[in-house]
Amino acid sequence: MFTHIFINRLKCLLHDRETIFWTMIFPLILAVFFNMALSNVNSWEIFKAIDVAVVDDTNYRNNEYFKAALNEASKGADRLFNLTVTSKDKADQLLNENAIVGYIVVEEPIKLVVNKSGIDQSIIKSFIDSYMQTVSSINSILLENPAAQKELISSLADRQQYVKEVSGTNAEPNNVLLYFYTLIAMTCMFGCYFGMREVTDIQADISPVAARVNIAPVHKLKTFIYNTCASLLIHLFEIFVLLIFLRFVLNVDFGPKTGYVVLTSVLGSITGISFGAFISAIVKKSEGIKVAILIGVSMTGCFLAGMMYQNMKYIIAQNVPVLSYLNPVNLLTDAFYSLYCYDTFSRYALNMGCLCIFIVIFCLGTYLIIRRRKYASL
C-alpha cells in the first residue's frame, strides 16, 4: 500500500511542472544574484582614489613635509587621492560642483573643507589627523634629540602593523555566508506549498477526490503520511540541488560538518511542509488567503532573519531575543551558521531543539484537525 500510494503521489506532484521548476530554480537564481552582489563585500577595500584639492597658498608651499606626504599618497596605481593643487576660489567651485570631496587649507591646524559627512570625507580627515599627530611626535622627539632627524625619516617610512586578526575557530564570522544560509532557510520554508497541497487533497470537505479517498478502505492518516513522504522526497531533492549548487558552483563554505548540514536541511524541509499543512488545516478559507498567509509568514520570517537587511537579525537579537527563537527561518539560519562557526554543538543543538518543537506543534495541530473522519458538512 505504501508503494502504491507513494508512487502515484509522486506522479501527481511531478506533473505540476511549473511549480516544481520555479521552486527549484528560484533559489539557484537568487544565489547567483547574491553571489554577484556580495562577491566584493568580503574583499572590500578602498580602491577608488578620492578626489581632493589643496589650496595653493604660501602655507602649503612652505610646508615641505605635508606636501611630500600628500604627494606620496597621490601617486601610484593604488593611491589614496587624486590631488588637485589650486586656488581657494577654484577649490570652492570644485566643491560646489561635487567634483572634489573636499579641499585642504594648510593652516595651524590643517583645515579640511567638505560639504557633507561621509566615508570619503572621513578618510581624508584620518589621513590629515595621522599626519599631524606624527608631526607632533616628531617635533617632541627632535626637541629632546635633535640628532635623530635622519633616522626619524627612515623610521617614518617603516610603518608597522600592530594588530593581527585572530579567529576564534577555524572559521571567522562572515556576513556574506549569512545571506546564503538565509536563502537555504527560505527554500526550506517553501515546502509549505507541498504541505498545503497535501491537506487539500485529503480533506473531503475541500476536494471531491479526497472524499473518494476517504471512502476507500485505507487509513486516512496513513494515506496522508505516505503522500507527505512523496512531497518530502521532491522537496528534499530541490534543497539538495541548492546545497550542491552553493557548495560546488558558488563555493559557499559550510564548514567541515557536512552530515549535520544535511540533517539540518532535512529538518528544515519537514518544518516547511508541516507548517504549510498546519496553516492549510486551520485556515478554512479560500486558497488565495492560505497562500497569502504562507507568503506573509515566510517572508516576515526571512526579513526578521536578516535576508533583506542584515542588521535586522542583530536588532532582534539585542532587543527582542525571544523573537529570534520563535522564527523558524532564523533558527535554520543560525543552525547552519553555528555549524560553520563554532566548534561545540551547544548552539546548534539549541536551534535544532527549537525547530523540533515547531515541527511537533505543526504536526500535532495538523493531525488533530485532519483526523476527523466525519464532517459537519461537505
Partner: protein, 388 residues
Amino acid sequence: MQVFKLYLKVLKKNIPSMLIYLVIFLFFSIIISSSMSKEQHVDTLFNQQKSNIAFISEEKSPLIDGLKHELEKVANFVDLPDEKEALQDALYFRSVYYILRVPEGFTESFMKGENVQLEKMAVPNSISNTYIDLCIENYFNNARLYVQHMEGISQESLVQHLKSDLSVNTSVELKTKSNKPQNHIYANYFFSYMAYSLLSVLILGITTIMLVFYDNDLRRRNACSPLSTRSINLQFTLANFLFTVFVWMIMVVFCLLYNLENSFNLNTVYFIINSFVFAVCGFSMSFLIGNLVKSLNAIHAICNVVTLGLCFISGVFVPPYLLGSSVLKIASFTPTYWYVNANNQIAELTQFNFSNIEPILSCMLIQLGFALAFFTTALVISKKRRFE
C-alpha cells in the same frame, strides 16, 4: 465598463490577501528605513559612530592604559568574560563588533623595540572597526618613534607625549547650502526600498487577480462577448493601473507620515515622481509576469527571484559602492538599477537647475522605456494565449 467592474469585484473578493501583502511589505519598508537611517545620521559636527568593543588585557601597564584612553574616542567598552564561547557569542550576536586582546608580555617586548602584535577578532566590513584599527596603529606607530629615538623613555612619559600628540585634530568646516541641513536619508532609504516592497505587492497582487481572469472558462466567455478585445484589454489595463496607483499612494503617504518634518521640500517632490515612474514600470512588469504564469505557487517563487534578485544587484540591500562594476553593469539592464540611481542622486540634490536634474530625468526616461518594453511584450503574449 463591464470588465472593469468585474476586475474591481474580483479585487474586492481578494482584499484579505491584498491587505496581507500590503501591510507586510509596508511594515518591512518602514522598519528598514528607520533602522538604516539611524545608522547614518547626518550631523552638523563631524562625528563618526562609536562601535562596541571588548578590551581584554592579559597584563596591565601605563602603555596599555594610554591605548584604552585613546580608544575611548572611537569606541564604547563592553565588559565580557574571557571565555571563548562568551566571546564568540558576543561577536555572533553583535553585542560587540571588535574584541581586542593584549597578550602577556606585549608591553615589555614593545618597549624593547620588538615587533609584537595585538590580537583582534572582529566583525568584517564594519566601517567603525576601521577607525579602531587606525587608532591602534597610529598609537603604536607614533609610540614606536619615541621608543626608537628617545632612549630609555619611561612608559609614563611616553603616554604623556602620545596623549598630547594624538589630541591634534584636523579642523573641519562643513559647508552646506541652507542653514538647516536637509535630511533626505530616511526618504532615500524608504523610496529605494520601495523598489522591493512596491514591486512585491504589485507582482503578487496583479498576478493573483490575473490568474482568476485567465482561467480558461472566464477567458473564453470574455472572448465571446461583443466587447472588442481592444476594449477588454483597455479596461483590464486601466483597472490594473488603478490598483497600482492605489498601492503606490499608500506607500508614499506612509513615507511622508513617518518623515513629516523632512518632507516639505523639492527633493521629496522628485522622490515621489521617481517612485511613480517606477510604479508604472512595476505595473508593466507584473502584467508581463501575470501573462506568463499559470499557477499560484509559482508566483511566489517568481516574485522572490524578480524582487530580491534585482534589488540585490541594484544596490537596494547592499549599498552601490560595495558592488563591483561588472555587477552594476549587469544591473543596468534592469529598471531597478536606474530607479535607485535616480533616488541616490535626488537625495544629494541641493540645486535644482537643469544640469543637475538632467541625469535624474534620463534615469526616469530609461525606466519608462523598460515599462513600455515589458508592456508590449505582455500584450503580444496575451494575444498568443488567447488562442490557446
